[in-house]
């Protein structure tokens, strides 16, 4: 996640690698006014700008749906891949295998992740593929005009008044259970939390699953919906205040003992979780699962860093890949010599 570029003289509107915010912007959004996804796109733009990551180091991947369109609206200088419905988990895995130095970012939705692509998502979790996996979760299918998705809560209603009766799939619980090494939930309306969580995910080495409740103003923002702005304002319960201190900023904040939990990330950045109502240990898997289930019982939506295992082996570790990207290895490394073929042929004679 680091860059070796020497920091140029810092001007007020340039980041530490000398780029303007505009270098991180994308095309004009075609999503509805007020869509939560637009706010998330804006956070992504700010995060990469503030972290001083060159846009060319990022690969954006998505599936199909409103959320999956959004990679066109941020990081215009990053490669984007809007593939088939539900399979961004697979294309992202392939991209990371081809070039382990890419920062792969999947931005996709609840239809992609919890329905059509659920199986592939689960296996991406198992593999702990290094990737920032953002779920823009609004509980409905927008482009097909407002059907329930698999993350809709029991009792949540459509605009027609029809209530959902089936239990929701909680992608965070899946993430914790199946092997993601950073799992967070947030709300698109919580600018600071989304920003801090995104930065932590970008700095984290491994798979980060970030489930962001992102209201659909057209089809799921009415009374009776549990994914509306109003509902989230009333039910969002942050676990902690999330601060992200990048490795290149040497900030020491005086804090009383027991007030903050600090997690050091792979690149030396620090994730500081300030205690709010309760103490929460995000490295305790069972605690995380218990907390999420308990929040259901209370009708709360827990947000923040639910789980983190910062040193967990990734797919790249398991495969013991060479340091250079496989995509650009020279032929001298990818084609065995004549002697190797002779040896094999001799064995087959």
């Amino acid at each position: 996640m680091s860059t070796t570029a020497a920091p140029p003289p810092k001007a007020p509107n340039l980041n530490r690698i000398g780029l303007e915010l505009s270098s991180y912007k994308g095309g004009k959004s075609t999503l509805c006014a007020g869509c939560g996804h637009n706010a998330i796109s804006q956070r992504i733009i700010e995060c990469f700008f503030e972290m001083g990551i060159p846009p060319w180091q990022v690969a954006k991947l998505s599936g199909i749906g409103c959320s999956s369109k959004s990679p066109a609206y941020f990081l215009g200088q990053s490669h984007g891949f809007n593939g088939v419905h539900g399979r961004a988990s697979t294309t992202a895995t392939g991209a990371v295998l081809a070039n382990r130095h890419l920062i792969a970012m999947v931005v996709t939705g609840d239809g992609d992740t919890a329905s059509i692509g659920l199986g592939n998502f689960m296996h991406m979790l198992r593999r702990n593929v290094p990737c920032v996996y953002v779920i823009e979760n609004n509980g409905v299918y927008g482009l097909t005009k407002g059907q329930f998705s698999a993350t809709a809560d029991i009792g949540s209603t459509l605009k027609t008044g029809e209530a959902n009766e089936l239990p929701p799939i909680d992608c965070c619980l899946l993430g914790i259970e199946m092997g993601a090494s950073l799992v967070a939930r947030s709300f698109s309306g919580d600018k600071n939390q989304v920003g801090a969580v995104l930065k932590a995910a970008i700095a984290h080495r491994g798979l980060s699953v970030i489930d962001i409740i992102s209201p659909c103003t057209t089809f799921n923002d009415h009374d009776g919906s549990t994914k509306s702005y109003a509902y989230m304002k009333d039910h969002d319960v942050p676990l902690h205040a999330v601060d992200f201190v990048p490795y290149f900023e040497d900030i020491e904040i005086e804090m009383e003992e027991g007030e903050v939990r600090e997690v050091v990330l792979h690149d030396g950045s620090r994730l500081r979780l300030r205690k709010l109502d309760r103490d929460y240990d995000p490295t305790d898997k069972l605690e995380a699962v218990r907390a999420i289930h308990a929040s259901y019982a209370r009708g709360e939506v827990l947000t923040g860093i639910l789980y983190i295992e910062s040193a967990k082996k990734t797919l790249i570790d398991h495969l013991n890949l060479v340091d250079e990207p496989l995509a650009t290895l020279p032929e001298s490394k990818t084609r065995p010599g004549r002697a190797a073929l002779d040896e094999i042929m001799e064995e087959l004679r």
Partner: protein, 614 residues
């Protein structure tokens, strides 16, 4: 007990028929999971080491243990290594199928069988060799647990004696088969071979005409299955990302690949892997990972069979439209649906040629031999990257899983064709690029790889409508321009695919067209047609789709052209009808075999004779 129940008829046969040397087939009927594969490969290899051209075909059930399986070895002094329809020498080890196996033989065939089966009571026109396997195995194999496996080696010894196979060659074959790490097991098995040979020598009197005699037609050749050859082809073509989901008959392709990759593609300096192999959760993921990797610049491939192809359909359409290099090996088996998973067919041609919804067209390379499995992987990767599109390699179960005699593979040091990829310097010079603009009339545009450190490098890949600048577009003019360019690109691919193998007989008005493993039956049938019916034929073996000018010339030149293939619906012929002029396709006739066994020459010949009215 008399060793041979001599019937007057069989004696007549033995006397009248001259010796048949190096030109017959042996079939071993056993039970799946009984370990007979090793015995069969040793027998095959012994004949190979005697210098006699040979092929081995395993006919096995979709089952782990217990169902019948047959292994057929063909020795052919003339080098015909396709399946022979008739069985000349049967080794009957399976009580369940023995009756049917014996009844389907032609008069004069030989049967070596497990004595208690008393098969000699079934017919009187065969040569019988009973062997008491259980009695023989006990002394050579003290551990009862292993006897089931070791007893198969006894027939190797007995057959070697009866056919005149040099035991020394069989010993070499056996120890090679077991390898240096299993010497003890090899010795145990070798004891069984000797016991079988000894029993045969002392107790059996040869009456059948079949004999193996030393020749020199296998000098320098190798024995290999097509899947291993394909795996090696990919490795020597610089593959870096391999994905798969286990499916018969393609599993062994990636499995053998993993062994060779570890040996030959571990970076000697760091001990790290210059490759990634992923066993995916399904074929959608397998091809999705390949698409992501190909997009990011890796030489990526997957291997599958028909059901996997069906699942990959959506992604392959994306690869075509978004222009992503990918190599997909289809080791074809019998469809539709689950079909006959362990039997062979060439029935995925139509679906692969146009896989996915909308207007699509995909190149297919069609290997017919292990050598081509090897060389065509380099061709496939080069085509995929040069033309930025998915490429299919259409192998089949017969080629992929059976053992073939082959020439050693040629080493290629031609530089890999990585296609139009712009780096920082080019971007600096050009200032930018239009991803989907025809760069040079070939229909192919420039691409860049994610991670290229330049502000102008990025573009947006999408399966939705896009213009030349890779921007979202629903404009009819943009769509048509793009689709027409893709059609143009397919024409460029036509000029780049491997050309067919053509043999013109200037006196022939009849032509035979075949592809893949139908080659062997077609070649042998040509020989039969000429020798038995005086019908001279020309020959064209397709090695790729799209079709090239050679095919048009061939059709123009001949009055009638028989397309020989292993599917019900004449799929290659249908592709020709889609693409070629009606006056040419009017000359086409169809010869098909689709029972799941490898196609045989006699069936082809009989069909052509019938249609020709000879």
């Amino acid at each position: 007990m008399p060793i041979i129940e001599v019937s007057p008829r069989s004696e007549t046969i033995a006397r009248e028929r001259p010796q048949v040397v190096n030109d017959f087939s042996i079939q071993v009927a056993t039970v799946n999971g009984s370990g007979s594969q090793t015995a069969n490969l040793v027998l095959m290899r012994s004949i190979f080491q005697m210098g006699v051209p040979v092929s081995g075909k395993n006919l096995f059930p979709s089952n782990i243990q217990g169902l019948p399986t047959w292994f057929t070895i063909r020795a052919s002094k003339d080098g015909f290594i396709g399946r022979k329809k008739e069985i000349d020498f049967l080794v009957a080890m399976n009580p369940e199928t023995a009756r049917e196996d014996v009844e389907s033989l032609e008069a004069g065939a030989a049967v070596l069988y497990d004595e208690p089966l008393a098969l000699d009571r079934l017919r009187s026109d065969l040569h019988y060799y009973p062997v008491p396997f259980d009695k023989l195995v006990a002394p050579v194999c003290p551990q009862p647990k292993l006897r089931k496996l070791v007893r198969n080696m006894i027939y190797d010894g007995a057959v070697a004696h009866l056919l005149g196979i040099d035991l020394e060659e069989m010993g070499k074959a056996l120890f090679k088969q077991f390898g240096p790490r299993k010497v003890k097991a090899a010795e145990l098995n070798w004891g069984a071979v000797l016991a079988g040979a000894d029993y045969a020598e002392k107790n059996l009197t040869k009456t059948d005409p079949y004999r193996i005699e030393r020749m020199d037609r296998t000098q320098g050749k190798i024995i290999i299955d097509g899947n291993t050859a394909t795996a090696l082809g990919a490795i020597f073509a610089g593959v870096t990302v391999v994905t798969w989901y286990p499916i018969t008959p393609s599993s062994s392709l990636v499995e053998s690949m993993m062994g060779y990759l570890k040996r030959f593609r571990t970076d000697p300096e760091t001990g790290k892997a210059t490759y990634a192999v992923i066993q995916a959760e399904d074929e959608l993921a397998a091809v999705g990972i390949v698409m992501g990797a190909g997009w990011a610049g890796a030489r990526a491939m997957t291997a599958t069979a028909g059901p996997g192809i069906s699942l990959m359909s959506e992604f392959v359409g994306l690869g075509y439209y978004a222009e992503i290099p990918a190599v997909i090996v289809d080791v074809q088996r019998v469809g539709p649906s689950t079909g006959l998973p362990t039997r062979t067919q060439q029935a995925d041609l139509l679906s692969c040629a146009v896989l996915s919804h909308g207007d699509t067209r995909h190149p297919m390379l069609i290997p017919a031999s292990p050598e081509e499995c090897f060389t065509m992987m380099e061709d496939a990767f080069n085509l995929a990257e040069e033309f930025q599109t998915p490429v299919f390699v259409m192998s089949d179960l017969d080629l992929g899983m059976n053992s073939w005699m082959a020439d050693p593979f040629p080493y290629s040091d031609r530089p890999l064709k990585r296609g139009k990829v712009l780096g920082v310097e080019e971007l600096e010079r050009l200032g930018g690029f239009a991803r989907y603009r025809d760069a040079d009339g070939t229909g192919v545009g420039y691409r860049t790889l994610p991670g290229t450190p330049h502000p102008a490098a990025a573009y947006f890949t999408r399966g939705s409508g896009h213009n030349e600048l890779a921007q979202y577009s629903e404009r009819p003019a943009d769509y048509i321009r793009n689709m027409d360019r893709l059609a143009r690109k397919f024409e460029s691919i036509r000029r780049a695919v491997p050309r067919p193998e053509v043999v013109i007989d200037p006196a022939a008005s009849v032509g035979l067209v075949c592809y893949g493993t139908s080659k062997y039956a077609a070649e042998e049938s040509r020989h039969q047609l000429a020798a038995e019916y005086g019908l001279r034929t020309s020959y064209l073996r397709l090695r790729a789709y799209p079709f090239t000018g050679e095919l048009t010339d061939f059709l123009e030149r001949h009055a009638r052209v028989y397309v020989i293939e292993q599917n019900r619906d004449a799929q290659m012929l249908a592709l020709m009808r889609m693409e070629l002029a009606p006056e040419l396709t009017a000359k086409l006739r169809s010869v098909r075999y689709y029972g799941g066994l490898p196609i045989d020459a006699r069936s082809v010949t009989d069909e052509i004779v019938l249609q020709e009215g000879l």
